[in-house]
Symmetry: C2
Subunit: 323 residues, 2 copies
């Protein structure tokens, strides 16, 4: 019988795991949101239990697995299986995740950045199929990326290569990012700072309703009104000028980002994933038009700028098949 791989995607809101065949077929999956309030050790216990549960339901022993691949957002020292930092969960500073999970499961565990996992899945099974070189970028609450060069994931010396989201595109900007710097693509064109950006722009328009009826929550110190991508897109569909300006600005920034990638890698294909690629109303087309206007006469060979094809499980599929 074909040996199965296991992929685990530890995200800020969901923890997903799946049994996967070498050809990418998902055999069985599981998902939970219960991990976000756990400390590292308990989260490892929960993850191990999920993997054991999947194997039990599949009628195999955990040791029958070829291994477990784990994807996680943040800086991963993948060679050593150590989480350096992660921004969407508490703790996990220099945490030897691969060793901890291996202790609990008794099988080989590898650790990789989540965008790298998604890039690998798109390379093998999605929009990057058949290309030796590919750059993958995912744009949602942050910007992650994965570089496939000569059919291999390119990791750099630490394992943090591909952080295109943190490259600076406006040194004069005062809009900050989780990286500690201002004016990177992640600060200016992910949903990370939508709150701040919406508020600033709203002051310039009298005919906007984008701050009306915002969901209001509380943390310990202040009232939180969280603007997300869906909120902006919803208002854009109603013709709200702030929402439309944001969509245009984001499309232009991401078009510049794709252009910069083109200049650096000259790849045959750039694959774009993440929540923002679900914005309609010509968002993706405007992004591509911006790229074309910059690169046009320097495009000596055709380049494919395409949306990711694998929807929900690319993190799990990629983590598993990186084994």
């Amino acid at each position: 019988m074909e040996q199965l791989l296991c992929g685990v995607d530890i995200g800020g809101t969901k923890l997903a795991a799946g049994l996967v065949k070498r050809d990418g077929t998902l055999v069985r999956t599981a998902m939970t949101n219960e991990h976000t309030c756990l400390d590292e050790a308990c989260l490892m216990d929960l993850t191990a239990d999920m993997v054991k549960g999947l194997c039990r339901d599949q009628g195999i022993a955990v040791t029958d697995l070829e291994g477990v691949g784990v994807g996680m957002a943040g800086h991963m020292r993948s060679r050593d299986g150590v989480v350096i930092t992660t921004s969407n969960l508490d703790g996990f500073k220099n945490y030897p995740l691969a060793k901890e999970l291996n202790d609990r499961l008794g099988v080989r565990v590898i650790l990789e950045n989540d965008a790298n996992c998604q890039a690998w899945a798109e390379h093998l099974f999605g929009a990057g199929r058949g290309f030796e070189d590919m750059v993958f970028v995912t744009v949602s609450t942050g910007i992650g990326a994965g570089l496939i060069l000569n059919n291999r994931l390119y990791r750099g010396q630490t394992g943090t290569a591909g952080e295109i989201g943190h490259t600076i595109v406006d040194p004069t900007s005062d809009i900050g990012c989780t990286c500690g710097n201002n004016g990177c693509f992640m600060a200016l064109a992910s949903t990370l700072n939508l709150d701040q950006i919406v508020r600033r722009k709203s002051a310039r328009f009298t005919n906007t309703r984008i701050l009306d009826n915002l969901k209001v929550g509380h943390d310990n110190t202040k009232i939180m009104m969280k603007v997300d991508g869906k909120h902006v897109y919803g208002h854009a569909k109603s013709g709200d000028p702030v929402a439309l300006e944001i969509m245009h600005e984001y499309a232009d920034y991401l078009g510049i980002m794709v252009y910069n990638i083109f200049q650096i890698f000259n790849p045959p294909v750039i694959v774009l994933g993440g929540g923002l690629m679900n914005w309609g109303m010509g968002f993706f087309e405007r992004l591509c038009a911006k790229f074309d206007s910059l690169a046009g006469h320097m495009l000596f060979d055709p380049i494919k700028i395409v949306k990711a094809e694998i929807k929900d499980c690319s993190g799990v599929m990629g983590a598993a098949t990186l084994l």
Copy 2:
């Protein structure tokens, strides 16, 4: 007897050629400035004559060479040996340079971007020795770069990868580049636009002498007063405020460029060459300090930011040893 390689560096001001051993040793070199007014065919004749002359003086036949490697500024389709465009010489649009030179010499000819050649030389014999991955950037009248990944020159699909100089760092800038776009590093931090930048800044200072005693020349239509890097640096040494501001701004831009390279490639070493690296007065140190201020807490492994070690002949050495 050890077979020799030949390297040729076709630049905008000088045409250099050399016989080179596999270990990078320059056996014999030749140089001319007579090529700049020639059409493509005559320039190929001149190049072939130089190579033949070097072989004659060395007492070998041209066919004794292992091959001829040619480096040239601009977009090279190196796989096919075709110059797509070059910005520092007239003509050479889609010019089959490798074939033309092969017809004249009867030995194998390869064509490569000049910065790629320099990168390769630094990788084998210079500041990048011993590193599997390295990014090389040269800053002078333009910004060129070469990517060494897994001990190989990374070229991309056309052969134009590594154009970090054309990545956009200020989308709102009105300072243009030969690429046709505004606000790329080459527009803002090479000597390409020093004229324009000096003039603009001079309007803001009363105590500058930077426009005094400028050499004045003529082309057909207008008076040309060319400000170059030496001119700016000379005035900076006299404490000229415009020159000092330019040096600071350039160091900061190049520090951001190095930071962006770090985020994308996470390489163990970044090698910087070109005329601007000869600016003293803490220019290089300020560049490195800017990088550190941006990357500091994300530097999980040490990275070397160093100056290129090979002075004049890295183009010739690299072109030859890429064979």
